[in-house]
Symmetry: C2
Subunit: 337 residues, 2 copies
């Protein structure tokens, strides 16, 4: 079904049909003719050919979403939020996985640009990220989600990392913990850098001990790195009764590694996570963590991007509030050997 066929059956010209079907130009056409055209297009089950539309208008009604890995449980709700927001506006999302690889990110962005996406949502950016350069040069609207880049010319939707870490520390201190270690995330990521900076800031403000051995840096947000970092902290020799982890997966790995050393959580060691991924309430022990609003974050990013498409607007930066969820991986400080 094409405009031409509708035009033939109704007995008008193609361009009349085109105008009648477009709500922006519909008022130019005689209402009675509009009526007939709409009826015919419904009956003939007309659907606009998006390729022709794109070729003509340079818009695809498609946006590219780049994430590290859809298999990582934190991303599906974000993606769902993005997709729901976009769908309501008539956009569709194409999603690509980088596995944290910079080259793959670049080639995905290139591929999306080649497909003429109307915008980009990036959940995979590093703080200094040249994968965006092509997109910025092309003038394609970009929103980063969950993470952000240093230069604030790129719009973003993130959470209040400082507040999250502050609440974790306040909670641990209220339980009597004095020597608190951290497993920090990758410092090339804004979440890693900000959560670590917040930890240092509030640790000092609360007058907690601050020895270098009490921080281990993970090179990736996964369980294996959580395990490795626990080993590193333990090998450091300094005493501590709680570990603040920069995300849930690190915490899950940390708890497993502690158990191998005979250190029970929470009796011997309190452990906290970050993100409140799905299932964190069902693992053993259920995890005390900072809840972020994954779906809402994705949805906000999708809405923000749509506002940017077409018009020249200044970059926006949304910061969502967090919440501390206290479960059973934290307990009062005890006298561990």
């Amino acid at each position: 079904m094409t405009l031409k066929e509708i035009a033939q059956t109704v007995g008008v010209h193609v361009s009349t049909v085109s105008r009648a079907l477009d709500s922006n130009t519909r008022h130019l056409i005689n209402p009675k003719v509009v009526e007939k055209i709409l009826k015919a297009s419904r009956e003939l089950d007309y659907r606009q050919n998006i390729a022709a539309y794109s070729l003509r208008t340079n818009r695809t009604r498609t946006i590219g979403v780049v994430i590290p890995d859809i298999t990582n449980a934190i991303f599906p709700p974000i993606i769902r939020g993005i997709e729901d927001a976009l769908l309501a506006g008539g956009y569709m999302a194409i999603v690509g996985n980088t596995d944290g690889n910079r080259d793959r990110e670049r080639s995905l962005v290139d591929m999306f640009l080649g497909r003429g996406v109307d915008g980009l949502v990036l959940a995979s950016v590093e703080r200094e990220d040249d994968a965006l350069d092509r997109a910025l040069a092309d003038g394609v609207p970009i929103v980063t989600v969950n993470r952000r880049v240093e230069k604030d010319t790129v719009s973003s939707v993130v959470h209040d990392e400082y507040e999250g870490i502050r609440r974790v520390l306040t909670h641990l201190v209220s339980l009597g913990h004095k020597n608190i270690a951290m497993i920090a995330g990758p410092q090339v990521l804004s979440t890693g850098a900000e959560r670590f900076a917040a930890f240092e800031h509030h640790r000092a403000a609360m007058g907690l001990s601050s020895r270098a051995h009490l921080v281990a840096f993970a090179e990736a947000y996964n369980e294996a790195e959580g395990e490795r970092c626990v080993e590193e902290l333990l090998a450091g020799g300094d005493d501590f009764s709680a570990v603040v982890c920069a995300n849930d997966r690190l915490a899950v790995g940390a708890i497993a590694a502690l158990a191998r050393h005979g250190i029970r959580c929470p009796q011997d060691m309190s452990v906290t996570g970050y993100n409140d991924m799905p299932m964190m309430d069902r693992i053993q022990p259920s995890l005390t963590t900072v809840r972020i609003q994954q779906y809402k974050m994705g949805h906000a990013a999708g809405m923000m991007l749509q506002r940017m498409i077409g018009q020249e607007v200044p970059p926006e930066h949304a910061v969502l509030p967090v919440e501390l969820v206290i479960r059973s991986s934290t307990a009062p400080a005890s006298s561990r050997a």
Copy 2:
């Protein structure tokens, strides 16, 4: 950058450039000219305009993927498999969520068809599903994944459900269980129907008790339904020492509901799942379940679909093997009151 601009810089005609850039027609062109064209296209950073390509060829190099909900942990690995397989062939995936809603499925399929997808991967189909009708009428290749429809004219990639249930029952019998209940999945889904049929078949074959009260039917694969079904089984009054759940989420809900009744898993009651979703090894108790190959299944579906695009081939049906993963939610039958 367009073909025209390359043609101008090299000093040949557009169609020559088009042919030189297409590996299928490249041999028609003088190798020296090909060389120059490739060089120029690289330097000018040429990228084919996919809209123009699509308009001309009626192919979009895009395929639509319809799933119930990306937020459900079983789907991300499947999607990842699909995407990886497609990406290797130059295809991109657009994903839509139905939330198990028939109307949404229909409208998503319609939307994808309107976008001119080259094929469809459906993880959301019911056994009798009219949402496919439009697609079948359009002649768009379809592969269903994880589930299948009754009519075997639609290609599919699924797992060996009979074998999975057989292994679960064999395991439970070896632990001394005689009265085994089931929480069956929705019977409109092939997985629900087949796992239930397998249960009935093997229960009879193994000479186990088969009273009607020992089966509860979930209306959806989620934790809440798992809880409800446990209540139903308990209210039935018949004694049983093990519950076979049609999937992991039902099992997770079942264990929680049992705990509320003071029935401990596995000491008082063995519980098994199906799928081996992420985190099932970390929950309390870790879940004995049937492992399916989610990534591989998605990958196989992506490859199968690509084989179908363009050529007229008979439908294929792949059945992947399963594996029983024994963890701590199953234990020898004890004498429960």
